[in-house]
């Protein structure tokens, strides 16, 4: 495709032009700033020589996003940010939590809430962050649905998104038990029993969740392991795959934007 030559920059008087950077300014020696910059470049080059990651980074960061993407398109990354916030606050809560149904669990949460510095604040962030994440995930899903963004070639990314939604709900369900207060205990009993009424796998699933036929000592540690290890790992891995597909297939254009008739003429203008 023939390209129009780029026009040269308009001539400026020499006084207005920025002076070109000179290596080793001053009396011929590199200043600390320049040395630091050079060190950074050397390190990045060293890593890149061995990993070739800079290409992937450029591919990820400098891919083009279609015109007309609006604030609705930030909902996905906002959901991911809420997930990161949950991960960070969760790590801090895990430093104090003891999955001991005989009173240790409740006692450790009481300790975090009432005695630890900023404990109630971090626990509040984790508790309300889960609501924020669920709201954002539904809004993100609504945007994808109404804009038809799940259609060819992004079907697989929609399926992964639904799995992420289910995993988020499982996170919320398992996390609800961990404070082990009345509310947590009884809501979980009801939830597990509802699971048990399901067809075919229902009874096995609720037996698995309870760690036996009765709600007992192993139930809490089971919920704890699912909430802390199993689901977060799956979530992180699937979010990574979700993002990879977004970068690979490109952010959807808004459904109203139409490609112009003769793009080859317009491309030169860009």
């Amino acid at each position: 495709m023939p390209r129009l030559p780029k026009l040269p920059a308009p001539p400026l008087p020499a006084a207005l032009q920025a002076p070109p950077p000179r290596p080793g300014e001053g009396n011929g020696k590199a200043g600390p700033l320049e040395q630091g910059k050079q060190a950074g470049i050397t390190v990045v080059d060293w890593v890149d020589e061995r990993t070739s990651l800079s290409g992937a980074g450029r591919w990820l960061l400098f891919r083009k996003v279609p015109k007309g993407t609006n604030w609705f398109y930030t909902l996905g990354s906002a959901t991911m940010f809420a997930f990161l916030s949950q991960a960070v606050t969760g790590v801090f809560l895990a430093m104090y939590y003891r999955p001991d149904p005989a009173g240790g669990a409740y006692e450790s949460i009481r300790h975090v809430t009432n005695e630890v510095f900023l404990g109630q604040f971090v626990r509040g962030m984790h508790k309300w962050g889960s609501s924020v994440m669920v709201i954002l995930i539904f809004l993100h899903m609504g945007r994808t649905f109404f804009f038809g963004a799940y259609k060819y070639p992004r079907e697989l990314n929609w399926v992964i998104g639904v799995v992420l939604l289910i995993l988020t709900m499982v996170m919320s369900f398992t996390g609800y038990l961990l404070p082990f207060d009345q509310r947590a205990y009884w809501a979980t009993i009801v939830g597990v029993n509802i699971n048990g009424t399901g067809p075919l796998v229902g009874p096995y699933l609720s037996d698995f969740l309870r760690g036996g036929g009765e709600f007992g000592a192993t139930t809490l540690s089971r919920f704890y392991a699912i909430h802390m290890l199993l689901i977060p790992g799956l979530l992180a891995a699937l979010i990574g795959f979700h993002l990879y597909l977004v970068a690979k297939l490109g952010t959807t254009a808004p459904p109203w934007s139409k490609a112009k008739e003769r793009p080859e003429l317009l491309e030169a203008e860009v």
Binding site: L60, L61, R63, K64, V65, P66, K67, T74, L75, S77, A78, F81, A82, S85, P101, Y106, F121, V122, R123, M125, H126, K127, W128, G129, S131, V132, L136, G142, F145, F147, G148, A149, Y150, K151, Y152, P153, R154, E155, W158, V159, V162, I166, M169, S172, D181, Q182, R183, A184, A187, V190, I194, T197, G198, G202, F215, A253, P255, W256, A259, V270
Partner: protein, 244 residues
């Protein structure tokens, strides 16, 4: 979508993409601003609403009314509305499972190439209807009592009597619902049929005195209710006597 439509879409999209702006810094700036909003909202909610911790879990209480997290309210409401035991699994598992399967398979049964919401009225209207239904169920689930609440038509005689009789009837209904009676007794469409006898017509079978005596000295495994405050106890008796 057939092959021609697929290729058409890919061609149009590549043009739109080529005309767009790079992800960094344009989209990253927007995403960053949104992340700040999310952070501020979470921090504000934590500061304003705090993190309460209820009383310690006690497996021996029978009167505690469980409430799930608010985003499960719609499911909770479905469970509350559907009373007949044969339909409960359908409501609790059938509806969500069906919804999940429909969500999973969405790109496989909606294969038209059209993307503008106003040109795919079925999808758009269905989407709005589902959101509306979930919002309505969440709202009514949030305002409803527990799933143990008794839904029963107040007898005409009680309504006619009004005043003290009606107040006592309603109070008794509430105490019965909160005392776990429905775990073993069935009243109308509410509660489990057995191991205790049905209470739907208990007022026709037992005198007022008989009901009171049974409540104080029941047959095991039913617990005695003699420790209820007299006011509540009388309300329970009055309520049960009216079940004819």
């Amino acid at each position: 979508m057939n092959q021609r439509e697929k290729e058409e879409y890919l061609r149009d999209y590549s043009i739109l993409k080529a005309q767009g702006k790079p992800f960094f810094p344009y989209a990253v700036a927007k995403d960053g601003a949104m992340a700040c909003v999310v952070m501020v909202v979470i921090i504000a909610m934590s500061l304003v609403l705090g993190a309460e911790l209820g009383p310690k879990a006690n497996p021996t209480t029978t009167t505690y009314v469980p409430r799930p997290e608010w985003y499960f309210f719609f499911l909770f409401e479905v469970l509350r509305v559907v009373k007949p035991p044969s339909l409960v699994p359908l409501a609790t598992i059938g509806v969500p499972t069906l919804g999940m399967i429909l969500l999973f398979l969405l790109p496989f049964y909606d294969r038209s190439p059209e993307r503008r919401p106003e040109r795919r009225p079925i999808a758009t209207i269905t989407g709005i209807a589902v959101i509306g239904a979930m919002a309505f169920l969440t709202y009514s689930g949030a305002n409803a009592g527990s799933p143990t609440a008794i839904e029963l038509k107040t007898p005409q005689t009680v309504l006619n009597a009004g005043g003290q009789t009606l107040a006592e009837y309603e109070a008794g209904k509430k105490v019965v619902a909160q005392s776990g009676c429905l775990a073993c007794h069935k009243i109308g469409e509410n509660g489990n049929d057995g191991p205790g006898p049905q209470l739907t017509n208990i007022g026709a079978r037992l005198e007022r005195q008989g009901i009171a005596r049974t409540l104080v000295n029941p047959t095991a495994p039913m617990p005695s209710f003699k420790n209820l405050p007299p006011k509540k106890f009388n309300a329970v008796v009055a309520f049960l006597t009216q079940l004819k």
